[in-house]
Protein backbone atom coordinates (compact mmCIF):
# COMPACT_ATOMS: atom_id res chain seq x y z
CA UNK A 1 0.00 0.00 0.00
CA UNK A 2 1.20 3.47 -0.83
CA UNK A 3 1.13 5.84 2.11
CA UNK A 4 0.63 9.43 1.08
CA UNK A 5 2.26 11.42 3.89
CA UNK A 6 -0.29 14.04 4.94
CA UNK A 7 1.92 16.10 7.17
CA UNK A 8 3.05 18.82 4.73
CA UNK A 9 -0.13 20.83 5.17
CA UNK A 10 -0.61 24.46 6.13
CA UNK A 11 -3.22 23.46 8.69
CA UNK A 12 -0.37 22.26 10.93
CA UNK A 13 1.16 25.20 12.80
CA UNK A 14 4.81 24.41 12.00
CA UNK A 15 4.15 24.20 8.24
CA UNK A 16 1.82 27.21 8.36
CA UNK A 17 4.50 29.31 9.96
CA UNK A 18 7.17 28.02 7.57
CA UNK A 19 5.01 29.04 4.60
CA UNK A 20 4.37 32.47 6.05
CA UNK A 21 8.02 33.27 6.79
CA UNK A 22 9.35 31.24 3.80
CA UNK A 23 11.56 29.02 5.94
CA UNK A 24 12.24 25.76 4.04
CA UNK A 25 13.78 24.04 7.06
CA UNK A 26 10.65 22.68 8.79
CA UNK A 27 9.08 21.68 5.45
CA UNK A 28 12.11 19.70 4.33
CA UNK A 29 12.54 18.13 7.74
CA UNK A 30 8.92 17.01 7.73
CA UNK A 31 9.36 15.58 4.24
CA UNK A 32 12.43 13.60 5.31
CA UNK A 33 10.67 12.24 8.38
CA UNK A 34 7.67 11.08 6.35
CA UNK A 35 9.95 9.36 3.82
CA UNK A 36 12.03 7.67 6.51
CA UNK A 37 8.85 6.41 8.17
CA UNK A 38 7.69 4.74 4.96
CA UNK A 39 5.67 7.30 2.98
CA UNK A 40 5.93 6.69 -0.77
CA UNK A 41 4.07 9.84 -1.81
CA UNK A 42 4.07 13.25 -0.13
CA UNK A 43 0.88 15.28 0.01
CA UNK A 44 1.46 19.02 -0.47
CA UNK A 45 -1.26 21.30 0.84
CA UNK A 46 -1.00 25.03 1.51
CA UNK A 47 -4.04 24.93 3.79
CA UNK A 48 -5.13 28.11 5.52
CA UNK A 49 -1.58 29.53 5.70
CA UNK A 50 -2.19 32.19 3.07
CA UNK A 51 -4.65 33.47 0.50
CA UNK A 52 -1.94 33.46 -2.20
CA UNK A 53 -2.54 29.75 -2.82
CA UNK A 54 -0.72 29.36 -6.13
CA UNK A 55 2.44 31.19 -5.04
CA UNK A 56 2.57 29.34 -1.74
CA UNK A 57 2.05 26.00 -3.54
CA UNK A 58 4.98 26.68 -5.87
CA UNK A 59 7.22 27.63 -2.94
CA UNK A 60 6.17 24.52 -0.99
CA UNK A 61 6.68 22.18 -3.96
CA UNK A 62 10.10 23.65 -4.73
CA UNK A 63 11.18 23.31 -1.10
CA UNK A 64 10.20 19.62 -1.09
CA UNK A 65 11.70 18.94 -4.54
CA UNK A 66 15.08 20.07 -3.22
CA UNK A 67 15.15 17.02 -0.95
CA UNK A 68 13.26 14.31 -2.90
CA UNK A 69 12.19 13.12 -6.36
CA UNK A 70 9.35 11.18 -4.75
CA UNK A 71 5.82 11.34 -6.17
CA UNK A 72 4.02 14.43 -4.88
CA UNK A 73 0.28 14.76 -4.41
CA UNK A 74 -0.66 18.36 -5.19
CA UNK A 75 -3.51 18.89 -2.76
CA UNK A 76 -5.77 21.81 -3.60
CA UNK A 77 -9.28 22.53 -4.82
CA UNK A 78 -8.06 25.61 -6.70
CA UNK A 79 -7.41 25.08 -10.40
CA UNK A 80 -4.80 27.84 -10.45
CA UNK A 81 -2.87 26.41 -7.50
CA UNK A 82 -3.12 22.94 -9.03
CA UNK A 83 -1.66 24.14 -12.32
CA UNK A 84 1.13 26.04 -10.57
CA UNK A 85 1.95 23.06 -8.34
CA UNK A 86 2.06 20.59 -11.24
CA UNK A 87 4.36 22.81 -13.24
CA UNK A 88 6.69 23.42 -10.31
CA UNK A 89 6.90 19.73 -9.43
CA UNK A 90 7.95 18.42 -12.86
CA UNK A 91 7.24 14.68 -13.12
CA UNK A 92 5.79 11.97 -10.86
CA UNK A 93 2.55 13.55 -9.77
CA UNK A 94 -0.85 12.92 -8.28
CA UNK A 95 -3.57 15.54 -8.43
CA UNK A 96 -5.50 15.65 -5.17
CA UNK A 97 -8.27 16.07 -6.15
CA UNK A 98 -11.30 16.59 -8.35
CA UNK A 99 -14.93 16.18 -7.37
CA UNK A 100 -16.77 13.50 -9.31
CA UNK A 101 -19.16 15.79 -11.18
CA UNK A 102 -18.86 16.83 -14.84
CA UNK A 103 -18.05 20.44 -14.08
CA UNK A 104 -15.03 19.61 -11.92
CA UNK A 105 -13.80 16.72 -14.07
CA UNK A 106 -13.96 18.85 -17.22
CA UNK A 107 -11.60 21.28 -15.49
CA UNK A 108 -9.12 18.88 -13.90
CA UNK A 109 -8.88 15.90 -16.28
CA UNK A 110 -7.25 17.89 -19.11
CA UNK A 111 -4.54 18.89 -16.61
CA UNK A 112 -4.00 15.24 -15.66
CA UNK A 113 -3.61 14.39 -19.34
CA UNK A 114 -1.27 17.31 -19.97
CA UNK A 115 1.05 16.49 -17.05
CA UNK A 116 0.77 12.70 -17.31
CA UNK A 117 -0.39 12.85 -13.68
CA UNK A 118 -2.58 10.50 -11.69
CA UNK A 119 -5.76 12.05 -10.39
CA UNK A 120 -7.84 11.42 -7.30
CA UNK A 121 -11.55 11.59 -8.06
CA UNK A 122 -13.76 12.10 -5.03
CA UNK A 123 -17.03 10.29 -4.42
CA UNK A 124 -18.93 13.54 -4.33
CA UNK A 125 -21.00 15.41 -6.90
CA UNK A 126 -23.44 18.31 -7.03
CA UNK A 127 -25.70 16.48 -4.60
CA UNK A 128 -22.97 15.86 -2.05
CA UNK A 129 -21.55 12.60 -0.72
CA UNK A 130 -23.91 9.71 -1.44
CA UNK A 131 -25.07 7.65 1.51
CA UNK A 132 -25.64 4.41 -0.37
CA UNK A 133 -23.36 1.99 -2.20
CA UNK A 134 -25.07 2.25 -5.59
CA UNK A 135 -24.56 5.98 -5.90
CA UNK A 136 -20.94 5.72 -4.79
CA UNK A 137 -20.37 3.20 -7.55
CA UNK A 138 -22.29 5.35 -10.04
CA UNK A 139 -20.16 8.43 -9.34
CA UNK A 140 -17.00 6.37 -9.71
CA UNK A 141 -18.25 4.91 -12.98
CA UNK A 142 -18.96 8.40 -14.24
CA UNK A 143 -15.43 9.49 -13.29
CA UNK A 144 -13.90 6.55 -15.15
CA UNK A 145 -15.96 7.30 -18.26
CA UNK A 146 -14.86 10.92 -18.12
CA UNK A 147 -11.23 9.91 -17.73
CA UNK A 148 -11.48 7.76 -20.85
CA UNK A 149 -13.06 10.66 -22.69
CA UNK A 150 -10.02 12.79 -21.82
CA UNK A 151 -7.60 9.94 -22.59
CA UNK A 152 -6.41 9.67 -19.02
CA UNK A 153 -5.48 5.97 -18.57
CA UNK A 154 -7.41 4.04 -15.91
CA UNK A 155 -4.06 3.31 -14.17
CA UNK A 156 -3.90 7.04 -13.47
CA UNK A 157 -7.35 7.21 -11.87
CA UNK A 158 -7.60 6.95 -8.09
CA UNK A 159 -11.04 6.86 -6.50
CA UNK A 160 -11.55 8.34 -3.02
CA UNK A 161 -14.85 7.06 -1.54
CA UNK A 162 -14.81 9.84 1.12
CA UNK A 163 -15.05 8.49 4.59
CA UNK A 164 -17.59 10.09 6.93
CA UNK A 165 -17.23 10.39 10.71
CA UNK A 166 -18.30 7.20 12.48
CA UNK A 167 -19.90 9.16 15.32
CA UNK A 168 -22.18 10.92 12.82
CA UNK A 169 -22.89 8.21 10.25
CA UNK A 170 -22.23 4.84 11.79
CA UNK A 171 -23.75 2.91 8.90
CA UNK A 172 -21.22 4.34 6.44
CA UNK A 173 -17.97 2.44 7.08
CA UNK A 174 -19.57 -0.86 6.13
CA UNK A 175 -21.10 0.68 3.01
CA UNK A 176 -17.73 2.07 2.03
CA UNK A 177 -16.20 -1.39 2.30
CA UNK A 178 -18.90 -2.71 -0.05
CA UNK A 179 -18.31 0.21 -2.39
CA UNK A 180 -14.54 -0.44 -2.50
CA UNK A 181 -15.11 -4.05 -3.56
CA UNK A 182 -17.62 -3.06 -6.23
CA UNK A 183 -15.61 -0.14 -7.63
CA UNK A 184 -12.62 -2.47 -7.94
CA UNK A 185 -14.63 -4.59 -10.39
CA UNK A 186 -15.72 -1.67 -12.58
CA UNK A 187 -12.90 -2.01 -15.07
CA UNK A 188 -9.85 -4.06 -15.95
CA UNK A 189 -7.35 -2.78 -14.99
CA UNK A 190 -9.22 -1.53 -11.92
CA UNK A 191 -8.81 2.04 -10.75
CA UNK A 192 -6.69 2.47 -7.65
CA UNK A 193 -8.47 3.53 -4.47
CA UNK A 194 -7.39 5.92 -1.74
CA UNK A 195 -8.86 7.11 1.52
CA UNK A 196 -8.19 9.93 3.91
CA UNK A 197 -8.62 8.29 7.28
CA UNK A 198 -8.70 11.16 9.70
CA UNK A 199 -12.29 12.13 8.89
CA UNK A 200 -13.48 8.74 10.20
CA UNK A 201 -12.61 9.46 13.82
CA UNK A 202 -13.26 13.20 14.10
CA UNK A 203 -14.06 14.07 17.71
CA UNK A 204 -13.93 10.41 18.74
CA UNK A 205 -12.03 9.36 21.85
CA UNK A 206 -9.84 6.67 20.23
CA UNK A 207 -9.09 8.18 16.84
CA UNK A 208 -5.89 6.29 16.03
CA UNK A 209 -7.29 2.91 16.99
CA UNK A 210 -10.45 3.52 14.98
CA UNK A 211 -8.44 4.67 11.98
CA UNK A 212 -6.06 1.76 11.82
CA UNK A 213 -8.74 -0.84 12.48
CA UNK A 214 -10.79 0.49 9.58
CA UNK A 215 -7.73 0.73 7.39
CA UNK A 216 -7.07 -2.99 7.90
CA UNK A 217 -10.66 -3.66 6.79
CA UNK A 218 -10.19 -1.39 3.76
CA UNK A 219 -7.01 -3.21 2.75
CA UNK A 220 -8.86 -6.51 2.91
CA UNK A 221 -11.37 -5.08 0.44
CA UNK A 222 -8.81 -3.74 -2.01
CA UNK A 223 -7.76 -0.27 -0.87
CA UNK A 224 -4.44 0.70 -2.51
CA UNK A 225 -3.44 3.97 -0.90
CA UNK A 226 -4.05 5.94 2.26
CA UNK A 227 -3.48 9.57 3.12
CA UNK A 228 -2.05 9.47 6.62
CA UNK A 229 0.79 10.50 8.90
CA UNK A 230 3.52 7.98 8.09
CA UNK A 231 5.21 8.59 11.43
CA UNK A 232 2.24 6.90 13.16
CA UNK A 233 4.11 3.65 13.81
CA UNK A 234 1.11 1.60 14.89
CA UNK A 235 -0.75 2.61 11.75
CA UNK A 236 2.22 1.67 9.55
CA UNK A 237 2.59 -1.68 11.24
CA UNK A 238 -1.12 -2.35 10.79
CA UNK A 239 -0.66 -1.71 7.07
CA UNK A 240 2.41 -3.94 6.83
CA UNK A 241 0.66 -6.74 8.70
CA UNK A 242 -2.57 -6.40 6.72
CA UNK A 243 -0.65 -6.69 3.46
CA UNK A 244 1.13 -9.73 4.82
CA UNK A 245 -2.21 -11.35 5.67
CA UNK A 246 -3.42 -10.54 2.14
CA UNK A 247 -0.38 -12.49 0.82
CA UNK A 248 1.10 -9.39 -0.78
CA UNK A 249 4.47 -9.85 0.89
CA UNK A 250 6.47 -12.88 1.96
CA UNK A 251 6.19 -13.79 5.62
CA UNK A 252 9.29 -14.07 7.77
CA UNK A 253 9.77 -13.57 11.50
CA UNK A 254 11.36 -10.19 10.85
CA UNK A 255 8.73 -9.00 8.35
CA UNK A 256 8.32 -5.64 10.09
CA UNK A 257 12.07 -4.98 9.98
CA UNK A 258 12.16 -6.12 6.37
CA UNK A 259 9.62 -3.46 5.44
CA UNK A 260 11.79 -0.69 6.83
CA UNK A 261 15.04 -2.07 5.38
Amino acid sequence: MDVIGERINGMYTDIKKAIQVKDKGPVQETAQKQIEAGASVLDINVGPATTEKADAMVWLVEAVREVTDMTLAIDTASLAAMKAGLEAAGGSLIMNSSKGDAKSLDKFLPLAKEHNASIIILNINEEGVPSDVDNRVAISMFGLAKAMEYEVPIEHVIIDPIILPVNVAQDQPQKILDAISQIKTLSDPAPRMVCGLSNLSQKCSNPKLINRTFLAMCIANGMDMVIADATDKELMETIITSELLMNKSIYCDGYLEAYYA
Binding site: I250, Y251, C252, D253, G254, Y255, E257, A258, A261
Partner: protein, 315 residues
Protein backbone atom coordinates in the same frame (compact mmCIF):
# COMPACT_ATOMS: atom_id res chain seq x y z
CA UNK B 1 -8.88 -2.36 -31.92
CA UNK B 2 -5.31 -2.08 -30.60
CA UNK B 3 -3.91 -5.02 -28.64
CA UNK B 4 -3.79 -4.26 -24.91
CA UNK B 5 -0.31 -4.00 -23.41
CA UNK B 6 -0.01 -6.96 -21.05
CA UNK B 7 3.66 -6.61 -20.13
CA UNK B 8 4.41 -6.42 -16.41
CA UNK B 9 5.99 -3.26 -15.11
CA UNK B 10 8.28 -4.17 -12.23
CA UNK B 11 9.37 -1.70 -9.58
CA UNK B 12 12.31 -3.72 -8.24
CA UNK B 13 15.28 -5.60 -9.60
CA UNK B 14 17.76 -8.29 -8.59
CA UNK B 15 20.93 -7.00 -6.92
CA UNK B 16 24.13 -7.01 -8.87
CA UNK B 17 26.94 -8.79 -7.06
CA UNK B 18 30.54 -8.56 -8.23
CA UNK B 19 32.72 -11.63 -7.64
CA UNK B 20 36.49 -11.76 -7.96
CA UNK B 21 38.79 -8.88 -8.81
CA UNK B 22 40.28 -7.13 -11.81
CA UNK B 23 39.85 -8.54 -15.29
CA UNK B 24 38.78 -11.90 -13.92
CA UNK B 25 35.82 -10.48 -12.02
CA UNK B 26 32.27 -11.42 -12.91
CA UNK B 27 29.00 -9.65 -12.16
CA UNK B 28 25.85 -11.66 -11.53
CA UNK B 29 22.23 -10.56 -11.06
CA UNK B 30 20.86 -7.17 -12.06
CA UNK B 31 17.76 -8.49 -13.84
CA UNK B 32 14.67 -6.31 -13.97
CA UNK B 33 12.48 -9.09 -15.37
CA UNK B 34 11.68 -12.76 -14.89
CA UNK B 35 14.24 -14.95 -16.67
CA UNK B 36 14.62 -14.20 -20.37
CA UNK B 37 11.45 -12.09 -20.74
CA UNK B 38 13.46 -9.47 -22.57
CA UNK B 39 10.33 -7.59 -23.63
CA UNK B 40 9.62 -6.76 -19.98
CA UNK B 41 13.02 -5.80 -18.63
CA UNK B 42 16.77 -6.16 -18.83
CA UNK B 43 19.02 -9.14 -18.16
CA UNK B 44 22.38 -7.35 -17.98
CA UNK B 45 24.41 -10.37 -16.78
CA UNK B 46 24.22 -13.99 -17.80
CA UNK B 47 23.98 -16.93 -15.43
CA UNK B 48 27.46 -18.30 -14.76
CA UNK B 49 28.62 -21.89 -14.45
CA UNK B 50 30.96 -22.68 -11.59
CA UNK B 51 32.65 -26.07 -11.37
CA UNK B 52 33.02 -27.89 -8.13
CA UNK B 53 36.25 -29.34 -6.75
CA UNK B 54 36.98 -30.86 -3.37
CA UNK B 55 39.87 -30.26 -0.98
CA UNK B 56 40.47 -34.02 -0.80
CA UNK B 57 39.96 -36.59 -3.55
CA UNK B 58 36.38 -37.84 -3.45
CA UNK B 59 35.80 -41.45 -2.43
CA UNK B 60 32.13 -41.77 -3.27
CA UNK B 61 31.77 -40.05 -6.63
CA UNK B 62 30.44 -42.17 -9.49
CA UNK B 63 32.96 -43.18 -12.15
CA UNK B 64 31.08 -41.07 -14.65
CA UNK B 65 32.14 -37.97 -12.74
CA UNK B 66 35.67 -39.05 -11.78
CA UNK B 67 36.76 -40.15 -15.30
CA UNK B 68 36.92 -36.60 -16.72
CA UNK B 69 39.25 -35.60 -13.87
CA UNK B 70 41.43 -38.69 -13.90
CA UNK B 71 44.86 -37.96 -12.44
CA UNK B 72 44.13 -34.49 -11.04
CA UNK B 73 41.75 -35.10 -8.17
CA UNK B 74 44.51 -35.42 -5.61
CA UNK B 75 45.73 -31.93 -6.45
CA UNK B 76 43.11 -29.17 -6.06
CA UNK B 77 45.25 -26.75 -8.11
CA UNK B 78 45.53 -29.07 -11.12
CA UNK B 79 41.87 -29.99 -10.73
CA UNK B 80 40.81 -26.33 -10.73
CA UNK B 81 42.99 -25.55 -13.74
CA UNK B 82 41.57 -28.49 -15.69
CA UNK B 83 38.04 -27.26 -14.95
CA UNK B 84 38.89 -23.81 -16.30
CA UNK B 85 41.17 -24.64 -19.21
CA UNK B 86 39.63 -27.87 -20.50
CA UNK B 87 36.02 -27.55 -19.45
CA UNK B 88 35.31 -23.81 -19.47
CA UNK B 89 34.47 -23.23 -15.78
CA UNK B 90 33.67 -19.55 -15.19
CA UNK B 91 34.17 -19.84 -11.45
CA UNK B 92 35.72 -22.42 -9.14
CA UNK B 93 33.88 -23.75 -6.12
CA UNK B 94 36.01 -25.48 -3.46
CA UNK B 95 34.05 -27.60 -1.00
CA UNK B 96 36.04 -28.22 2.17
CA UNK B 97 34.63 -31.71 2.78
CA UNK B 98 37.89 -32.95 4.26
CA UNK B 99 37.66 -30.76 7.36
CA UNK B 100 34.34 -32.30 8.43
CA UNK B 101 34.76 -34.26 11.67
CA UNK B 102 33.15 -37.31 10.04
CA UNK B 103 35.06 -37.14 6.75
CA UNK B 104 38.70 -36.72 7.68
CA UNK B 105 38.61 -33.97 10.31
CA UNK B 106 41.61 -32.33 8.65
CA UNK B 107 42.98 -29.25 10.42
CA UNK B 108 42.60 -25.63 9.41
CA UNK B 109 46.14 -25.64 7.99
CA UNK B 110 45.03 -28.11 5.33
CA UNK B 111 42.12 -25.90 4.30
CA UNK B 112 44.31 -22.82 4.20
CA UNK B 113 46.89 -24.52 2.04
CA UNK B 114 44.23 -25.66 -0.43
CA UNK B 115 42.40 -22.35 -0.77
CA UNK B 116 45.60 -20.34 -0.90
CA UNK B 117 47.21 -22.46 -3.61
CA UNK B 118 44.02 -22.59 -5.70
CA UNK B 119 43.45 -18.84 -5.31
CA UNK B 120 46.96 -18.10 -6.54
CA UNK B 121 46.71 -20.46 -9.49
CA UNK B 122 43.48 -19.21 -11.08
CA UNK B 123 42.10 -15.94 -12.47
CA UNK B 124 38.38 -16.73 -12.27
CA UNK B 125 36.37 -15.89 -9.13
CA UNK B 126 36.55 -18.32 -6.24
CA UNK B 127 33.84 -19.73 -4.01
CA UNK B 128 34.51 -21.69 -0.81
CA UNK B 129 31.95 -23.81 1.02
CA UNK B 130 32.55 -25.01 4.54
CA UNK B 131 31.96 -28.62 5.48
CA UNK B 132 28.45 -28.12 6.83
CA UNK B 133 29.58 -28.83 10.39
CA UNK B 134 28.87 -25.59 12.24
CA UNK B 135 31.53 -25.86 14.94
CA UNK B 136 34.32 -26.85 12.58
CA UNK B 137 33.32 -24.26 9.99
CA UNK B 138 33.23 -21.53 12.63
CA UNK B 139 36.84 -22.38 13.46
CA UNK B 140 38.14 -22.75 9.91
CA UNK B 141 36.15 -20.32 7.77
CA UNK B 142 37.34 -17.10 9.49
CA UNK B 143 40.93 -18.19 8.76
CA UNK B 144 39.99 -19.01 5.16
CA UNK B 145 38.37 -15.59 4.82
CA UNK B 146 41.47 -13.89 6.17
CA UNK B 147 43.77 -15.91 3.88
CA UNK B 148 41.70 -14.86 0.84
CA UNK B 149 41.59 -11.19 1.81
CA UNK B 150 41.51 -9.01 -1.32
CA UNK B 151 40.19 -11.81 -3.56
CA UNK B 152 36.54 -10.74 -3.25
CA UNK B 153 35.53 -14.39 -2.96
CA UNK B 154 32.12 -15.93 -2.23
CA UNK B 155 31.92 -17.85 1.06
CA UNK B 156 29.21 -20.15 2.34
CA UNK B 157 27.12 -20.69 4.04
CA UNK B 158 25.26 -18.64 6.64
CA UNK B 159 22.03 -20.17 7.89
CA UNK B 160 19.40 -19.12 10.42
CA UNK B 161 21.10 -20.90 13.30
CA UNK B 162 24.72 -20.18 12.45
CA UNK B 163 25.63 -17.00 10.66
CA UNK B 164 27.39 -14.54 12.96
CA UNK B 165 30.92 -15.94 12.63
CA UNK B 166 30.85 -16.18 8.85
CA UNK B 167 29.22 -12.76 8.53
CA UNK B 168 31.94 -11.15 10.65
CA UNK B 169 34.67 -13.01 8.75
CA UNK B 170 33.33 -11.98 5.33
CA UNK B 171 32.88 -8.43 6.47
CA UNK B 172 36.39 -8.11 7.86
CA UNK B 173 38.02 -9.60 4.78
CA UNK B 174 35.72 -7.99 2.20
CA UNK B 175 34.11 -11.13 0.77
CA UNK B 176 30.61 -11.96 -0.41
CA UNK B 177 28.40 -14.37 1.53
CA UNK B 178 25.97 -17.19 0.72
CA UNK B 179 22.80 -17.25 2.84
CA UNK B 180 21.23 -20.70 3.06
CA UNK B 181 17.68 -21.76 3.85
CA UNK B 182 16.07 -25.22 3.86
CA UNK B 183 13.61 -24.94 0.93
CA UNK B 184 11.65 -22.36 2.90
CA UNK B 185 10.99 -18.93 1.46
CA UNK B 186 10.14 -17.41 4.84
CA UNK B 187 13.45 -18.52 6.29
CA UNK B 188 15.28 -17.40 3.13
CA UNK B 189 14.04 -13.89 3.78
CA UNK B 190 14.68 -14.11 7.50
CA UNK B 191 18.33 -15.13 7.07
CA UNK B 192 18.90 -12.13 4.82
CA UNK B 193 17.37 -9.88 7.48
CA UNK B 194 19.55 -11.40 10.20
CA UNK B 195 22.71 -11.06 8.12
CA UNK B 196 21.99 -7.45 7.14
CA UNK B 197 21.01 -6.63 10.74
CA UNK B 198 24.59 -7.52 11.61
CA UNK B 199 25.67 -4.77 9.24
CA UNK B 200 26.49 -6.92 6.21
CA UNK B 201 25.70 -5.15 2.91
CA UNK B 202 22.75 -6.62 1.02
CA UNK B 203 24.56 -6.23 -2.30
CA UNK B 204 27.22 -8.74 -1.25
CA UNK B 205 24.71 -11.53 -0.51
CA UNK B 206 23.93 -14.50 -2.76
CA UNK B 207 21.01 -16.71 -1.71
CA UNK B 208 21.07 -20.49 -1.66
CA UNK B 209 17.47 -21.67 -1.24
CA UNK B 210 18.53 -25.38 -1.22
CA UNK B 211 17.98 -26.52 -4.75
CA UNK B 212 17.82 -30.32 -4.92
CA UNK B 213 17.71 -32.58 -7.97
CA UNK B 214 15.13 -33.11 -10.67
CA UNK B 215 12.61 -35.67 -9.46
CA UNK B 216 12.89 -34.81 -5.78
CA UNK B 217 10.23 -32.20 -5.06
CA UNK B 218 11.77 -30.11 -7.77
CA UNK B 219 8.56 -28.26 -8.65
CA UNK B 220 8.46 -27.03 -5.05
CA UNK B 221 11.99 -25.66 -5.36
CA UNK B 222 11.09 -24.10 -8.68
CA UNK B 223 8.10 -22.26 -7.21
CA UNK B 224 10.09 -21.07 -4.19
CA UNK B 225 12.74 -19.50 -6.38
CA UNK B 226 10.13 -18.08 -8.74
CA UNK B 227 8.09 -16.62 -5.88
CA UNK B 228 11.20 -15.06 -4.39
CA UNK B 229 12.01 -13.54 -7.74
CA UNK B 230 8.48 -12.15 -8.14
CA UNK B 231 8.75 -10.59 -4.68
CA UNK B 232 12.13 -9.06 -5.51
CA UNK B 233 10.85 -7.61 -8.77
CA UNK B 234 7.88 -6.19 -6.88
CA UNK B 235 10.25 -4.32 -4.59
CA UNK B 236 10.99 -6.72 -1.71
CA UNK B 237 14.63 -5.80 -1.08
CA UNK B 238 15.24 -8.73 1.24
CA UNK B 239 14.48 -11.15 -1.60
CA UNK B 240 16.58 -9.35 -4.20
CA UNK B 241 20.00 -11.04 -3.90
CA UNK B 242 20.95 -13.32 -6.80
CA UNK B 243 20.35 -17.06 -6.40
CA UNK B 244 22.97 -19.81 -6.39
CA UNK B 245 22.08 -23.42 -7.23
CA UNK B 246 24.16 -26.34 -5.98
CA UNK B 247 23.42 -28.58 -8.94
CA UNK B 248 26.36 -31.00 -9.04
CA UNK B 249 26.42 -32.14 -5.42
CA UNK B 250 22.66 -32.62 -5.39
CA UNK B 251 22.23 -34.36 -8.73
CA UNK B 252 25.10 -36.81 -8.31
CA UNK B 253 23.69 -38.43 -5.25
CA UNK B 254 20.34 -39.48 -6.74
CA UNK B 255 19.96 -42.90 -8.31
CA UNK B 256 18.56 -41.53 -11.56
CA UNK B 257 21.97 -39.98 -12.22
CA UNK B 258 24.26 -42.63 -10.80
CA UNK B 259 22.64 -46.11 -10.97
CA UNK B 260 24.82 -48.50 -13.02
CA UNK B 261 23.36 -50.10 -16.12
CA UNK B 262 23.42 -53.50 -14.39
CA UNK B 263 20.99 -52.21 -11.73
CA UNK B 264 18.75 -50.30 -14.13
CA UNK B 265 19.04 -51.86 -17.58
CA UNK B 266 16.08 -49.82 -18.91
CA UNK B 267 17.42 -46.42 -17.91
CA UNK B 268 20.15 -46.16 -20.51
CA UNK B 269 23.89 -45.65 -20.33
CA UNK B 270 24.78 -43.80 -17.11
CA UNK B 271 27.58 -41.93 -18.85
CA UNK B 272 24.91 -40.16 -20.88
CA UNK B 273 22.07 -40.36 -18.38
CA UNK B 274 23.96 -38.72 -15.49
CA UNK B 275 25.17 -35.65 -17.38
CA UNK B 276 21.70 -35.32 -18.91
CA UNK B 277 20.12 -35.41 -15.44
CA UNK B 278 22.49 -32.68 -14.31
CA UNK B 279 21.87 -30.62 -17.48
CA UNK B 280 18.09 -30.82 -17.12
CA UNK B 281 18.22 -29.93 -13.43
CA UNK B 282 20.39 -26.90 -14.13
CA UNK B 283 18.35 -25.91 -17.18
CA UNK B 284 15.16 -25.93 -15.14
CA UNK B 285 16.77 -23.87 -12.38
CA UNK B 286 17.83 -21.40 -15.06
CA UNK B 287 14.17 -20.90 -16.01
CA UNK B 288 13.10 -19.88 -12.51
CA UNK B 289 16.00 -17.54 -11.83
CA UNK B 290 19.29 -19.28 -10.93
CA UNK B 291 22.23 -16.88 -11.31
CA UNK B 292 25.15 -19.18 -10.43
CA UNK B 293 25.12 -22.93 -11.16
CA UNK B 294 27.61 -25.12 -9.32
CA UNK B 295 28.11 -28.10 -11.62
CA UNK B 296 30.19 -31.24 -11.78
CA UNK B 297 30.22 -33.14 -15.11
CA UNK B 298 32.00 -31.43 -18.05
CA UNK B 299 29.31 -32.50 -20.54
CA UNK B 300 26.61 -30.95 -18.34
CA UNK B 301 28.71 -27.79 -18.06
CA UNK B 302 29.01 -27.65 -21.83
CA UNK B 303 25.27 -28.20 -22.35
CA UNK B 304 24.44 -25.53 -19.80
CA UNK B 305 26.80 -22.93 -21.23
CA UNK B 306 25.38 -23.55 -24.68
CA UNK B 307 21.80 -23.19 -23.42
CA UNK B 308 22.61 -19.96 -21.57
CA UNK B 309 24.39 -18.57 -24.63
CA UNK B 310 21.48 -19.35 -26.92
CA UNK B 311 18.88 -17.91 -24.54
CA UNK B 312 20.88 -14.73 -24.00
CA UNK B 313 21.05 -14.20 -27.76
CA UNK B 314 17.34 -14.56 -28.46
CA UNK B 315 15.86 -11.30 -29.75
Amino acid sequence: MPLPDVTEKWSGSINEVVLGTGEGSITVGGQSTLPFLDFEGATPNKTIVAMEILDTAPTEWSEVTTDPFDGVMNDPVEWAQKCIEDYGAEMICVSLNGIHPDFGDLPAEHALKVVDSVANAIDVPLMIWGSGNADKDNTVMPLVAEALKGKNALLGSADEGNYKTLVAACQMAGHNIITESPCDINIAKQVNILVTDDGFPLDRIVMYPTTGALGYGFEYIYTIIERGRLAALSGDKMMSPPVICRVGPEVWRVKEATAPLADQPNWGDPSERGPMWESLTAGTLLMCGGDIMIMRHPQAVKNMKQLIGELMNVG
